[in-house]
Amino acid sequence: MASITKNEHKSYGMGLHDEVLTGRTQQTFFNPEEGENFFYNDAFDVDFNKRTSINVENLKCLELNKKIKELMKKGYGTIVLKNPGAKHSLGVGILQKLNLIIEGSLGYFGVGSIDGPVVRISGRVGWSCAENMMSGKVVIEKNAGSCFGAAIRGGDLICKGSVGARSGIDMKGGTIIVGGDAGAFTGFMMQRGRIIICGDVGPNLGDSLYDGTIFVGGSIKSLGADAVEAEMTDLDISWLKRKLKVAEIDKKIDFKKMTKIVSGKKLWNYDNLEPSERKGAI
């Protein structure tokens, strides 16, 4: 596993890497200093104390998303969206730091492909919320639809209510936290990262899981192919306590009784394939 050992990086001490990675995985560690100084070419310098609001009622998604960009260009660091009306694709493609407050519910693909903003949504979200999120934090006060956090690569995605089927499908990093229940195929084809479900989970949990960890507080209807139960460690428990506290999920959970699910690694493991073989397999 590359040349990094447990002693060389602080993230191990923080409990972020207890998954056993095999094969030739090249794991690149995020350097907070680099992160602080990294900007996309069209990112703007914003002041979080500079606040404004947009009434979305008569705007189409493209108009709204352009308007957010214009406001960021003017230095607004806190933007409030009013009357989103469950429209689709609102707040997508924000690639910088921003406080985005959404007073209401989003439709499909809300706040997708974001990298950096902190988003608070007072209502519900539809399918594929925060799809492809790279970093940042999204907090949803009510329920979420299916494919919640599909293919996210980083950041914290928090739903205080319940989520639909296939949450965390194909996720490659980051953390998904659900205060309520989750549907079928949660963590389907997950490759990295962590999912915490405080309530019950539907059938086929972690089906075809490559890597990553799923923690469940309630009952599990059934495990998917190659998902296996692992032992909870003290490090897991301390990490879970910290994460749920930060996520403001105020639910009484007996952390020791939570179930930890990891990959059995009996299907096929891309890490053991040569690049040419991998290409052929895909």
Binding site: G85, A86, K87, H88, G104, S105, G107, Y108, S122, G123, R124, G126, W127, K142, N143, G145, S146, G161, S162, G164, A165, R166, G183, A184, F185, G202, P203
Partner: protein, 313 residues
Amino acid sequence: MCGIAGLIHRGKSTNVGGEMQKMLQSLKHRGPDSTGYALYGSGKSKDYILRFKVGENVKEGSSAIMEDASLYDARRDEVNNQINEVGGKIIKEEQITPYSFRYVIKCDDDLLELAKKIESVEMTEILSLGQSLELIKDIGDAQVVADQYNLNKFNGTHGIGHTRMATESGVDIRSAHPYWAYPFSDVSVVHNGQLTNYWNNRRALERKGMRFMSSCDSELIAVYLANKIRDGYDLEDSMRSSLSDLDGVFTYMVATKDKLGMAKDTMAAKPMVLYESDDLVALASEEVAIRSLLPHEIDTYDPYEGEVKVWQA
């Protein structure tokens, strides 16, 4: 990708035609080819409302074959003869479009015999036959179809509807949803998804004497439920057994004279958002459809995999 929507008022009648039109129009992006409505009126009369067509809409975008419009009148006359032949009496006769008709008829309860007679007329298909159900479907979006059939003033307790993106069969009325569960009065179905064991089920049902009018896989659900009802199952049990008997990914809604139900397959692969209050239940493929009726913030949720729900009007 298709859009489905439904609503049921508990204990009251409203302008359900106008409400369904708003919901379906907001789902136009999910299916621009055709739109269908199954609307349920008061159902207090003992007379039957018959909606049927004797031809297809051949406007631009349709995959139907052009016919001489004079054929429609001859077919209508033949339908009238057939109704009289089985002892039915036509009380009211309306021609909505050159090819589409709405009749109020008196007849005994042998609907199968009546339906067989009517459909023996060339190119004639019964869209619905019931005491409260009126099933309307045509090419175009929800607004176009509602205007064409004057649905915006339809009063009733509940309804289901569908916006169709044609994927596995033609752009024509016979492939549009909803489907009537022939020959059971007042039962209709809309569906979003694909059924992968369509032919196995169709052949089995045809051997039992059930009739199919299209090659659209969604029709199978209506015929399947009709067969179950014929075998003595109630609506909810029929829907539950469909989850294991029908293979594929699907979410469907079914409505009867006083009930509205939904079922979601065990993979939960097709969307459904649900809003439920003391006096209204509204459900749709997307929340925007529900918001077209209730623009304020509401609590909604996605039903889970394998769920079947039925509500009473």
